[in-house]
Structure formats: structure tokens, C-alpha cells
Symmetry: C2
Subunit: 643 residues, 2 copies
């Protein structure tokens, strides 16, 4: 029974054309290290275009790579400008009311929203590589910033300190973004899974919409918490004291108008501009209406005051020392990462549609620089806005010039017409926010996630409930935690499969996927579907032994011959570490006791190299390693293969 | 040029026996969920033996599974007891001096070490499933506990509070271990990589040895820090005031004796007992020597006082409320996890040598119960000791009865002879600790790690330097961080490979590993070596496009025909999520623009299922998905395959 395979296989009898398992040429340590670093940090090979260029050309390329505008600007034409002008005007009309509203979400004075739509888009236009993104304040980041800042300073008691902390957080958000890009660590944002983002965004949209009930219903005494229970309690408590009916009338009417306009724009893509200009239209009409009826004297809350003039410098406002430095730093990191995730997702989406390349890391450097400069010029965290970018795209933008156009319109607004916003009712701003965040609640994406991966769906729902029922931070924490848990699960519990031979081929496949595949008598073929590392080596060893035990029990019941050979198909095993090799040694010893021979099929270059180094190949015998499962089966069960 | 593949392949012309890619039968949601949970938490199928048993038998099996002694105890024989008795006496002789020494490492009175070698081994003998592990206090955990506790309470100023906190930490260490096992989360300890453990242990051994310089040199005023720089500074500062030469003489003489005994035991496995009894011999000789010469009056530090009698109960000592509860909890978790890692590694090692099964989770329940009961009976954290377990094994232990024998000897010691230890010089204890921890510095393991995986080696060295130059905690933190970083790197940067056809076969392999493999003209075959998840989907898409760009540039230079087909070998891709599918959609669109057709080969059951659900198969066309790369190549380049 214990016949060694080496006796079974006589090399002269071996079938022709049996290739040996290849051992790749040994790489020098430095070369190996360099290539690992390159694959990890420079997978997109950003220096490709610099190769074999004279020094002066390298300099030009270097400057162009920091300021892509110098590259695409040379081919800029009037034709392109036409598209950019229309798109720029459209997003400007959309961003002005949104900016004022989002600033309120961040508990800042309304002009800060406009400031943040003036400087950052300009900086981005020079440094960014996305052609479709629309830069400015966004709802989710404003809410997140507002929540985190309010925990440190009360914006009503200490508005100036609060402002200073907001600018400090913006500065560090920019530094975080810049550093991630510069150090080529941009891949870190990939650790937030798509499903978690969908859930987080949906939760944030619900939270933001609920917050707007304050403005929509004209409630004065509103909770500072953001969870759904506190908010609803606050809303119904206020009902006793009476909501302001004039406010409700204005709010509901215009919300209906905005939502209908949005629906029209969605149904007929050519009418997207109806949705795009509806917020500004609402603001103009409602402001005019309040001004002539003096509804503000009836208790309709209005913007009241909004500073005129362009961004004041704010270097002196940032806390570079003291107690608030570390708080601003921490808040900046969180807000910066979330803003980054949103911007990069947008840039990638539109780049894929129009088929151009986005370098994630370079994009982060651009966004970081933009926020650092922003923080020095009274702007709070700006990033790419989903809704405005989509409008920008549909309005036919060609380059980042549309951001420059928008920035110009915002400049004009700041210099000339801000005082006119004095009578804008807060209810309109609330309606604009609600109609904007409705789009963040992506039910279709959630359904698709449910269909594709139930675990992903749990992450999505977890993040959603975390945001709506607890707080934005907890929701974000849940999203990150579940994302990580999924990664860890993936590496601790890799899949294994039993293979069978597809009839009339030499192809071996998972018998669960191909029920027609048949097992080879006396041979168990297991495929391990992952690199074998410390995190999963014990599991893999135990799982393989369990497959064997299961199979042996089954054979015994059916009085069939016992398993003599265990073939491990190693094709998917791309790497192995010391723990993995220990697990294999233990597996080998365990199998020896059970009188089963261990055979490996198709180990990859890294694996065969490490098996040699650790002398495991000597332990099981070189003749127990085959190029393919078919070769291994031929050696183990020659009669079967012939049949 | 843009001929669709569907036009190329006429089903009637297709070669015979082409299998379709199988779609596994749809599982019910609940079943899918159950099987995922089972694979994650019960991969070892612990309930297998309960299947199809009557209820009474299930109860018996259940009790036996909590107390394995009821199972193996029935077959226990006098023959087995002979081995266990000898092994038990040997490890008792080794553990008594070690216990006293280790208690000092944890800043506790010497009797606490003996207490911890009395109760915990007894509990373990009833509940544990390892036959070779020797339970008791160990050096690394004692040092870790001592360091962490000292940060909260000074053991010299408040010895009683310190003791109470130590017992509290022990209680929570036990609770942590029990919970991990009970909730079947034992796999969490697999996240500490082997390499990190090797480095951490080596660092801890150096730190512990350095700490012993105090006792060896008879220094009174010694630093409380554990890093190498503080310790050496402290040692040389004390040199000015004079070291105690009598202490040094005793210490160095016996250290030499212990190390020689250890060397003899290592060289000749039959003489292992020489090393095993040398510590007790040293203690007896040196104690007698000090007693007759009254060297303690010359400045030789001695144990002085050691309580007589068995463990007093200590339920009332544990902080169940107040300020120290949370501190004890935190320290307990850390110490419990480290103790667990050590015990489980030992249990697995010896189980593999003797070929029996260890259920990691059940083992954790046993260890946890043991430490909880220990904390109620004045014991501090006990776990499996590497050195004593090895001696236990070599002395021929058969079952956990050797632990009961050891426990009995410790009981006798506590009741009868502890007062005799009064004159034991501290230098001997220091020498015993040094000779014990020398074995933790595993230079061979480090060399093997260097050979096999350079990144693992960095983890190893990082943990080592962290412990020696900063502190035990920081070293542990570095070990955990690097282990996690490696896992994250693995999932963000999976490997990809270009495949070529091995001459005279239909086998496609990595051309870097098999230089004889040849590329197929007009076709690029890329294998993706990992599941495609949110963490790597962008990378994979970009990397595939870069392979294509590289190849196209190469072909252009050599004036060869362009790539028309991109075949992705999906065998190693075990799963895909929504982000992965998005990446594929983007890849498909990108390829369409470049007039290259996307073809998939051998997607696994989960992948094909999800590709169908998300309608990606409709997007690229069912006829672009093949069972094998060979089939795909036949369809793309029929002439080549025939040639």
C-alpha cells in the first residue's frame, strides 16, 4: 500500500512532452525590492513618458505633469471654449444657491460657501487632470465637518473660534490629501468599499434631509444631534408650539418645484438644464416674493446677512499652535479622506466614460494643494460634487475651463450681488439641499449590491443605519470597519475546491460548478484559491485534511478504494510565506501517517522558489511536483487516464 | 479590423468536446449564508461527531468535548502514567526556580509564581486537549504584564494595589481568551504573523536578559525602563558606585553552568535532563552556599521572604468596579492575546509532531477558564511555556497528567519547603531567567525568514528593534501593524502574469517562469491571481491596461501585428464584488475604444454567477467566455492553434 510514487513512474515511460515545473531565474535582492516597491507605489508607471528623454524635455514634462493645463491648454480652441462656457454658466447657477446652503450645513456664514467656490476651482483647473469634475463645497463633507467641529466648539457661542477651527481643519485636510498623493499612498482610499460608500452616502442624505426640517418647518429650537430619533423628537416637540405656516408653504411649494424639475431632467436628458437652473430660479422668485411681502416679519427666517466682497486672506486665522491644533488636525484628516474618496470616485467615473486616464495620486496632490490654498483664503473643504459634475458633463464641458468660468461667475456674485440674498428665505435653502441630496440615496446601487454580494449588502446597510441612527462619524467608522473585516475575512478564509475531470478532456474543474466532472478513483484533487500566508495557513491545512476525511468516509460507506494520492492544484497560489511552508510540512507529516501521498501541481514562480529554499521540495521529492493536474493524475493513476 | 468574435466562430465549426462554462445551481439565501458562517467560524467542523447520534450520546459527547480528560482518561494505563510521572517531576524541577524568577519579572512576590504553577495546570489537565504543553508562568508574558502594570501603579510604593491590578488583568485575560474561543473567533490570533512573533520573541529575550543585569551585577538603583539604551546607561552609571563582586561571582559561575548544561542537553538529546534539572541544582547549591557563608551580609541580594502555604482565594482582590477596572481590562486583553498566541503555537507544534488534532477554539476556552479560575486563587497569567513543554515532550509525557504531577510537586513545595528559598540569591534567579530566554532568540528561524521572504524579515526585524530599543508594547504594536500591512498589501496589489503557450501542449503558463512558452500573435493573455474586490479592482484594471500598452509598444517597435484580443485567465479569481464588476465594465469600454476584444477564460462559480446577475455577460457576450485559455485561443486565432 505504501508504494512510493517514484516507483510507479519510470521516466522512460512518462508521456511525451511533459514539461518540468519551471524555476524562474533568481533575481538580485535589490532588483526584487525595487520591483516590489514599483508595483506597490507606482503601479501606473507615472514616469513612463520621462524615459529616454533629454534633460530639458524632462523638465518641461515635469512642469506639465504638475500643471496639466500647460499640456492641454496648447490645444485649446474656441470650439472647446463654447462647450466650457455653457457648462460653466450652468454649474455656476447651480452652485451659488447650493454654496450658501451647504455653508449653513457646516455651521458657517453663507459667504464661506461662495468663497469655497471661487479659489479652489481655479487652483484645480491648473493642476487637476479630470475634465468633468465640478469643484466646490459638497453636502456630505459640509455635514461631516459641521458635526465634527461642533463637538469641539459651539458655533453659536464662539462663531469666530469655530471659523478658525474650520479653516485649520481645511488646511490639514489639504495637507493630508497632498501627502497621500505625494507619497503615492493613494491606494489607501481603495480600502473603503463601494458598498460601504453607497450605504454611507444614503445615510448622510437622509440625515441631511432630516436636518432641513428645521428650515422647512421654521423651527427655532432644534436638536444639535443628527440621529433620526433625536431629530424627529425635536420636530414633533416643536409642533406643539406651532410650526410657521408661511415658511412651510414657501418650503413645500419650492421643494415640489425643484423635485419636479429634477424629475423632468432625469426623464429627458436633453432637459437637464431645467433641473440645473431650477435652484437659482427658486432663489430669485422666493427672495423677490419675501422682499415685497415682507414675510420675514411674519416669522419666515431669512439669510439676513451675507458679506460682500472677495475672499479675505486667512493665514492668521489658522491654529498653528495650541490646544486646537491637534483637534483641527484630526478633523482635517477625516474630512480630507472623505472628500478625497468622493472626488477620486467622480474623476474616475467620468474618465472611464470619456476614456481618458486619471492618475489618482496626482489628482490627490491637486486636490490637496487646492484645499491648502483654500484654507489660506477663507475657504472650507472643497471637493468634487457628484450632482454638479454630472450637470457639467451633460452641459457639454470639454476641459477644466468650465470650473474657471464658474469661478468667475462666483467672483462677480461676491463682488456685486450678494446683498440681494439678504431676503432669501432659509426654507428655500433647505429645499435646495433636500433636492440635491435625494440623488445620493442610490437605491438601484443598493439593489445591485444585494443581488451580487450579501456581505457587501450588510456593510452597506450597516453604514446606512450607523449614520441615520447614531451619527455621521459612527456611520463612517462602521463603513471602514466592515470594509476591513471583509478584507480580513477574505485572507483568513480562502476558498478551496475539489476538482474532477471533465469528460473527454484533460481539464480538471470544480465539481460543484461542473457536475459532469468526475473524480479520479484513489486520488483527491484539491485546489487552493489563494496565496498561503500566516493569516490562512492553518485554515488551509485543516480544510484540506477535512476534505480528505469527508471523502474517505464517503468512500468507506460505498465500499470504494481508499484515497492514495492527494493532489493540490497550486495554480492560484501566487505566494507562500514561512507559516505557509510550516503548514505544508505539517500537512505532509499528517498525510504520511495516513499513508496518503502529497503531490503538488503547477506551483507558481514565487512558490516553487520558496519551496526550494526551504527544502520542502526535498522533503516531498521533486518527482511529486507536476506541471499540470493532468500530468499528476497520469502519474498517480495511469490506468484511469488511459481509460 | 473590428470583426466581432461571434462572426469568427460558427458553433457548427467549433471543435468537439468544448464544454461551456458551468453555472452552479442557485443556492437559497439561507443556505448560502449558513455555509459562509460555517466556513468562517466552524471550518474544522467541530460538531461532526455529534451528527446522527441519539440525544443521550450527544450529551456525553458534549461533556467530553468540554472535559477531554473524560475521554482519554478511560484509556489511561499504568504504562502511560510512568511516562507522565517522569515528565511531571522533570518539569516540576524546572518550573519551581523559574516560577520564582518570573514572578520577579512581573514585579510580584515570588510565591505568586508558584501559585500560578499549581491551580492553572490542574484546570488545564481537565479541559485542555494538548498532551505535551506545560502550563505555568512564562517569561515574555511576565515581562509584558510587569511593564504594563508598572505604568499604572508603582509596585514598590503600592504593592497591594499593584497585586490587585495584576489579578484583575489576569481575570480579564482569561475572559478574553474564553470569549475568543467560545465565539469561535480564535482565527484572530492568526493575524500575528510568524515572522513578527519571531522578532518579538527575540526582542523580548534580549530585553529580559538585559533586565537581569540588575540581579547579576547586584545593582540597587536600576532604571524602570526596558529599552536597551536606558538599561545600559543604568548599568554603567552603577559601575562608578561599584558593582557587588560576590554577586557577580555567584551569578556568572552559575550562568556558565546553566548554559553548559543547556548546550549538553541540546547536543545530545538523551541528556536533555541535564539541562532540565540544572536550574534546581543551582538553586539548591547556591542557597546552601549563601546560608553557610552568610554572603547576604556582604551585599548579596537574596529572596528574603516567601510566603508559605497554598494559594489564598482572591475574589475580593479583583477590581470589579472603579478606576482600575478599565485599566485591568485593557492590560488583560493584551496579555491574554499574547499568552494565547504562545500557547496555541506550542499546542499546534506538538500536535503536528505526534499527529493529533488540536481545536484552537476549544483550547482557548480551556486556557481562558484556567486563567479566570487562576485569578480567583491568587495566580497571575499562566500559559504554555516553550522551554518546559519541550522538556515535557522529551521526558516522554503521554497526557496532561504530567501537568497534574507537576502541580502536585508545586503544592508540596508551597506547603513544606518554601521557607528554604529565603537564602536563594537573586543572582541565581537572574541566571536562570537568562539561560531560559536564550532559547527564545531563534536565529535559525530569522535566517529562514530572510531567505524566504524579505518583507517578512522586515516585520521580524521591526518587531525586534521595537522591543529592544523602545518598549515591549511598541514592539508588539509594530509586529501587529506590519502583519496587517502585509495582509493589506497582499489584497491591494495582487499579482498578474502574461501567459504563453508551452510548446507542443495546450497548456498556458507564466512566461517569466517558463521562458520556452510562446505568446500567441495578436492575442494577449493575462492571468489575474486574486479575487477582485474593492481593494484591488482599480489596480487590476490599470495593470491589465498597462500590460496591453507595454505589449503594443513592443509590437509596434518590431512591426508585428497589433493585439486584437485580450484574454483574461480567471481561474485564480475566486470572487468578485460590485467594485470589481465596475472595473471590468470600465475595462471593457476602454478596450472597445482601442478596438481590442475582451475575452474571459474559466471564471469560477461565484464569478460567473455574479457576472450574470450584473448583466456583464450580456455586455461582452456569452460567446466571449470560454472554459479554458486553449479554447479561447482556438476561437481567437484558429490558425495559430492548428499550426
Amino acid at each position: 500500500m505504501s508504494n512510493r510514487i517514484s516507483q510507479d513512474i519510470d521516466p522512460s515511460e512518462a508521456p511525451p512532452f511533459v514539461h518540468k515545473v519551471g524555476k524562474p531565474p533568481k533575481q538580485k535582492l535589490l532588483k526584487e525590492f525595487t520591483s516590489t516597491v514599483k508595483e506597490t507605489l507606482f503601479p501606473d508607471d507615472p514616469l513612463r513618458q520621462f524615459k529616454d528623454q533629454p534633460r530639458s524635455r524632462k523638465l518641461v514634462l515635469g512642469i506639465q505633469s504638475v500643471f496639466p493645463i500647460l499640456d492641454w491648454g496648447r490645444n485649446y480652441s474656441l470650439q472647446k471654449f463654447k462647450g466650457d462656457l455653457i457648462a460653466g454658466l450652468t454649474i455656476a447657477s447651480l452652485c451659488i444657491p447650493q454654496d450658501i446652503a451647504y455653508a449653513k450645513l457646516a455651521n458657517l456664514e453663507p459667504q464661506y460657501g461662495l468663497y469655497s467656490s471661487f479659489v479652489p476651482p481655479l487652483v484645480y483647473a491648473f493642476m487637476g487632470s479630470s475634465r468633468d469634475i465640478a469643484i466646490g463645497p459638497v453636502a456630505v463633507v459640509s455635514l461631516l465637518l459641521g458635526t465634527l467641529l461642533r463637538e469641539e466648539i459651539d458655533p453659536n457661542e464662539n462663531p469666530h473660534d469655530y471659523q478658525r477651527l474650520a479653516l485649520t481643519a481645511t488646511f490639514f485636510a489639504g495637507i493630508t490629501q497632498f501627502s497621500l498623493g505625494f507619497l503615492r499612498l493613494g491606494f489607501l482610499i481603495d480600502f473603503l468599499s463601494h458598498a460601504a460608500i453607497v450605504g454611507f452616502m444614503a445615510g448622510a442624505s437622509v440625515t441631511i434631509a432630516l436636518q432641513q426640517l428645521k428650515g422647512m418647518l421654521g423651527i427655532k429650537d432644534f436638536t444639535k444631534k443628527t440621529d433620526i430619533i433625536s431629530v424627529l423628537r425635536s420636530v414633533f416637540k416643536a409642533a406643539h408650539h406651532g410650526w410657521n405656516w408661511q415658511t412651510i408653504l414657501i418650503g413645500v411649494t419650492f421643494l415640489a418645484f425643484l423635485l419636479i424639475a429634477k424629475y423632468i431632467g432625469k426623464k429627458n436628458k436633453k432637459l437637464f438644464w431645467v433641473a440645473a437652473i431650477s435652484p437659482l430660479t427658486s432663489v430669485i422668485i422666493s427672495t423677490f416674493f419675501v422682499y415685497i411681502t415682507r414675510a420675514d416679519k411674519q416669522g419666515v427666517a431669512i439669510v439676513k446677512h451675507i458679506n460682500k466682497g472677495v475672499n479675505p486672506p486667512s493665514v492668521n486665522e489658522i491654529y498653528f499652535t495650541g490646544h486646537y491644533l491637534s483637534k483641527g488636525f484630526r478633523i482635517g484628516i477625516v474630512a480630507g479622506m472623505v472628500a478625497l474618496t468622493e472626488a477620486v470616485a467622480i474623476a474616475r467615473t467620468f474618465a472611464a466614460i470619456k476614456d481618458y486616464q486619471i492618475d489618482g495620486n496626482k489628482e490627490m496632490v491637486a486636490l490637496g494643494t487646492m484645499n491648502v490654498i483654500g484654507s489660506l483664503t477663507s475657504c472650507y473643504v472643497a471637493t468634487g460634487s457628484f450632482s454638479r459634475s454630472a450637470v457639467n458633463f451633460m452641459a457639454g464641458c470639454n476641459t477644466a475651463v468650465s470650473n474657471i468660468v464658474m469661478s468667475g461667475v462666483v467672483l462677480l456674485t461676491l463682488e456685486v450681488i450678494t446683498p440681494l440674498f439678504k431676503y432669501t428665505p432659509n426654507a428655500i435653502l433647505a429645499a435646495i439641499i433636500i433636492s440635491a441630496v435625494v440623488g445620493l440615496f442610490d437605491i438601484d446601487a443598493a439593489i445591485l449590491i444585494w443581488k451580487i454580494d450579501k456581505l457587501d449588502f450588510i456593510a452597506c446597510v450597516g453604514a446606512f443605519f450607523g449614520v441615520t441612527f447614531i451619527s455621521v462619524e459612527i456611520g463612517l467608522l462602521i463603513a471602514v470597519t466592515i470594509s476591513f473585516a471583509k478584507i480580513l475575512l477574505q485572507v483568513t478564509r480562502p476558498r478551496t475546491a475539489i476538482l474532477g475531470k471533465l469528460p473527454r478532456t484533460t481539464v480538471y474543474r470544480n465539481i460543484l460548478q461542473y457536475p459532469e466532472a468526475s473524480k479520479v478513483p484513489g486520488v483527491l484533487i484539491v485546489r487552493v484559491d489563494s496565496a498561503i500566508y500566516f493569516s490562512n495557513s492553518n485554515y488551509i491545512r485543516e480544510r484540506i485534511l477535512r476534505w480528505l476525511t469527508d471523502e474517505e468516509e464517503h468512500l468507506k460507506e460505498n465500499h470504494q478504494p481508499r484515497i492514495q494520492f492527494l493532489i493540490i492544484e497550486m495554480s492560484p497560489v501566487t505566494d507562500i510565506d514561512t507559516s505557509g511552508i510550516h503548514a505544508f510540512e505539517e500537512l505532509y507529516r499528517g498525510l504520511q501517517k495516513r499513508d496518503v501521498q502529497l503531490i503538488l501541481a503547477n506551483p507558481g514562480p514565487n512558490v516553487i522558489d520558496k519551496l526550494h529554499t526551504s527544502k520542502f521540495t526535498d522533503m516531498i521529492g521533486e518527482d511529486h511536483i507536476f506541471l499540470t493536474v493532468a500530468d499528476a493524475v497520469t502519474a498517480c493513476a495511469p490506468k484511469y487516464q488511459e481509460a
